[in-house]
Symmetry: D2
Subunit: 310 residues, 4 copies
């Protein structure tokens, strides 16, 4: 492969350029703001083609290649694109965010600066109930009347914490120490830079319905408003092969194969061998999370799990 | 959660201790040798339980928890185990190996030392044919007679390269430069240390049938002889949920759901909408890799793709 | 290099084994607790020697080799050791801690569990004053009387935030949401695992006098009580070559060389050329941070900067 | 800090744009070619200022800030710039290159494609002698006559290896296997993408006089021809504070301080306490690498080590 002689210019995406510098609002006082980016769908194709020794030759099957790469988790070409965002986020959501170790980060220092006069507030209709079946999730909302009381007590805590913080700073307490009693939901700001491969991983986890609503709102804004414009072919493939995918375990695959072959008995035998069908002494089976997950996936395919079908 | 008062000792695995220091042979002159390890199945359970605030309390469902973690790709607890190997590998396989950026490596320096007097040799029955349908794979073997000629010419090249290398070193050429004409399959040695999460990722890619046979032999030895003893519960889960898993795309899921609901027509409509069924003008369809992959998965479940079923 | 035939056992450090499981107290209610480790000083030597093709042969110069490696920043052999700690830390110190992206982490989930009934409290004599010359530091303490007022207002904020949190949880607000108004200094717990190379980098930054006192207390406990026992030769070299080192810039080096050659005029000329000596119109020079840093280093060597010497 | 209202465009560097797509030649048939980049000196300043809560306000001291950041190893702002190169490199130099784990890489696959018809050739005047005092380095060149013989034997090995490779491929041997006997110096090509912080670390190691000449040629081309244009303020600071810096150990600092205070005896005592002055029984001292390094640094400052000064 020989490098072409002609002069290049940097890959760009006019649809995305229009977004540069705009603060896309999230939550009551947060935002996501595109600051810079590198590469586009073509850059992914170009990197993949160097692996095949095809250089930069033009073909019309870029979409097919990108879909192939994403479907088969050939991830390195997606590292060739990079994005930089300026975000404003409550610190408790930021704690989840920062657990992704593959990004570059510069955050406002609350040792150096006075902390922003803002904590995330929760309106009367936004208080969520603890989920009963998912110990780390929420489900449903309180009525506005009950919520109004929560909002009021929140307002009091935030106001008191702020007042005490400002008094201390005023009297000369070190900022690094004065901040310690501010609420976890105090807003912070940061530049956050990450490559597309790692960003898709972040989005897959944080756009998931099991992610906490606050960070999900940020992830959804990044995905639907920025990534979808930046790399539209990749975004389409990501929805088809990551967000919309179903993973079948070896056991689930064998059950489906037995059903496909017409043998309900064989399918039940697979489940039995996997230890899924332990009698509970009351005519049913002991609870088994793996079996229940399988039943859920089969139901999604409009198939009744054979052991339920009697 | 309060730390327990009693004294701890380091987690260990007696079955694995028996392997320490043993060179497990791979290829004609390579090996994998366990040097050190940290943690076991219990360490994964312990790390996961800290997340749930359950501390180190004992329960009998360790297997269930490990399977749950691996099935749902809760990967961080698997980072709590670490392994260190001493390996001897041909450099062309090592080039693929070293692409995994998440390991710690100390390799023999051929700038500092005389290169080992050994390149990987290929016997008459081991020469593989270029695959016709997979541009980067092989399929089948040459007969021994043809192979014998390949082996002979290889022997000549290796001998000549070695002779020229040794002459240069003898006459005082810098080792870092003299090595440049040695064969790519010259053996090298290294210490290689990696955590279990990253090791499983390595194994999933390199034990795959599409991986090159040479590195696959190393990966299989590591997986089947070492990891299976080290963390047996994790290994079982890995086989069930990673190696044996089938990933269905959004489109494939919709086709299966249409079939489950009894509507072949709907299933075909999904495929049509995905652009899979473009007439080739001869009564068939144009080749479409995604459609063919779907047909293959359905066949694995003993289901005929509805568009083939006429 | 041929692997030895004899059976190995895992490297261990009896002095460190005695610490396993012990909670070393830090701050008012935090701790650092050694859970597991891998390797010792010998493991570093062994990894370095494989690079030199010297295999596992015994020599008496291990100390010399470790010092050489650390002095010349040959960092990869130090990656061969790994340590796992269980820590209990205020979340605001943890936010600084977690910025080190090279560790493996499992933290208590406050989505899943009720948050520990504990925030870091600050005694009357522990309130620090904002530094006047370092915008992100502190210097000196308030008197106990003034401090007592700060401690009292802190107690009120923490108590109120805790009460509101518990009320919300009691009434069924999702834990992931109820926690949002807790103080930043609420304690969290985590398993934290990192290799020795990255740990030394963490310690160099966080044991530094410019680090915030809270995290410095944790880092100092890890360094002085754990690492010093674990890898004593490495720890000694770390103190000599990292913590106790002075880095001279090109310009500072040239100034020192001019002074060594006996030419004050040349030394001043170097400073002038670097733009350090811009007249302030009042017989002195404009402030220049680089010049002042140089003056500080020279003073450490009992040398008066030549431009001050008139 | 509030995001500005006005529309942004991506940061760019016109001097660098002129280089886009140009292959800068290295060695006999290699090159480095700029494909894309993100950010400039201003991006570093911007990221640092967010930490100080100063937002994007304009000041004239960008140079001072960049120098301060680099001098004090505040590294994260330098991660905000990213560069992508297309390189053509002999595989033995590439093996050293790829050890830097912080880059994104897509390399030509020699499983998929026929390997480029080119290995690095060494001219008669380019053969280097093994260094006598540095076991992993070279020093000086052979005369052209001797070198001509080395070049001739190299030509023979390369031609034979190439011929055998082509025969095997022609007869249908799998490309992944046929390549195994090609020389280590066969050229490969790759896209290589890395952030500026990690690139500077790469350059500091690979532009060093101790790096092998082949990779040093690549590093020097990247540094002097590309980075110097891309981020000129950073490049200047890098030369002053990294490439031109001298690190003094604690012991060396104490010796310098004793000399500065005028006490030769104290300086010698420091050396003695460090174990540097062990009599060799012949009126001198046993060799000690650390002492010799110290003597070298002092000599650089035109200072005679006090123990030599008798």
């Amino acid at each position: 492969m020989k490098p072409e002689a002609e002069k290049l210019s940097r890959p760009s995406v006019p649809e995305l350029d229009a977004l540069l510098g705009q603060a896309l609002p999230v939550l009551d006082d947060g935002f996501v703001r595109l600051v810079d980016y590198m590469g586009n769908d073509q850059s992914i194709v170009q990197a993949a083609r160097v692996s095949y020794g095809d250089g930069t030759k033009k073909v019309s099957q870029d979409r097919g290649l990108i879909r192939y790469l994403l479907r088969h988790r050939h991830t390195t070409p997606f590292e060739m694109c990079e994005i930089k965002l300026h975000v404003r986020v409550p610190m408790d959501a930021w704690r989840q965010w920062i657990r992704h170790r593959t990004a570059s980060v510069n955050e406002v220092s609350s040792r150096y600066s006075i902390v922003s006069d803002s904590a995330q507030t929760t309106g009367p209709g936004q208080w969520r109930m603890q989920s009963s079946d998912n110990k780390q999730g929420s489900s449903g909302f309180f009525d506005e009347e009950t919520g109004a009381a929560f909002t009021a007590s929140e307002r009091d805590v935030q106001a008191m914490a702020r007042k005490v913080y400002e008094e201390k700073v005023e009297l000369g307490v070190a900022r690094e120490q004065a901040r310690k009693d501010l609420p976890l939901c105090t807003y912070t700001e940061a530049y956050w830079k990450i490559n597309l491969h790692n960003l898709l991983h972040f989005l897959a986890l944080r756009m998931d319905p099991h992610a906490q609503k606050e960070i999900r709102d940020f992830a959804t804004t990044i995905g639907e408003r920025i990534v979808s414009r930046w790399v539209p072919l990749t975004w389409e493939a990501f929805l088809d092969y990551r967000m919309g995918a179903t993973s079948l375990t070896r056991i689930e695959g064998e059950i489906l194969a037995a059903l496909g072959a017409g043998s309900t008995a064989d399918a039940v035998a697979v489940a039995e061998q996997a230890g899924w069908l332990v009698a509970d002494g009351q005519g049913g089976w002991k609870r088994n999370r793996e079996r229940e997950e399988c039943e859920g996936k089969l139901a999604g395919f409009h198939i009744t799990a054979p052991w339920l079908d009697r």
